[in-house]
Assembly symmetry: C2
Homo-oligomer: 105 residues x 2
């Protein structure tokens, strides 16, 4: 049985957002994104994959299309295929996100 | 921008496991499963969709294929396409799971 444990995947990088993979199959993947204050994932898009960001810890400013919104713990956002999306940790605390994407691009 | 908030979706049913949908697209869905003590999702399988269970609160006994394992908060498990899978809340506390599935069956 393939299990995962966030305690082993809470790894930050001083240089940039760190993506820690939790699960990957032919159909989907799930990552843990760890962002120190000031770090970001610049807006980008996937033509035919949907992404969900779910905030486990901290607060982040999410952009999807032309909209930007700050959300925090226990909240999430959908970045549908074909729309620019990104996230910035403008807070003074660490930001930890569970990120699902399908299909795998 | 489509966002969601777990505080609005933590809904339990006295009768059986309650699935609260958070996100649904043509490619995937994400639900919040709320299980009172003793409730379960009986083993079943999806021929061509993968599922991820992630424990937000409590502890659950997960079955995938012929294996069974109890995991708790901040842990998750992959139920790959084609394998029987289910979960049972054998604890005395509530169990809350973030469940991601793709592609949508």
């Amino acid at each position: 049985m393939e299990t995962f444990d966030l305690q082993k995947s809470r790894i930050f990088s001083p240089d940039k957002l760190r993506k820690n993979n939790l699960v990957e199959t032919d159909r989907l993947f799930c990552d843990l994104y760890c962002l120190e204050p000031g770090q970001e994932q610049r807006p980008h898009l996937h033509e035919s994959s949907d992404k969900i960001y779910f905030v486990l810890e901290g607060r982040g400013s999410f952009r999807v299309g032309t909209e930007e919104r700050e959300i925090g713990r226990d909240q999430g956002v959908l970045a549908p295929a074909g729309l620019d999306h990104g996230v910035r940790n403008g807070s003074g605390e660490r930001l930890i996100l569970l990120v699902f994407m399908a299909p795998k691009p």
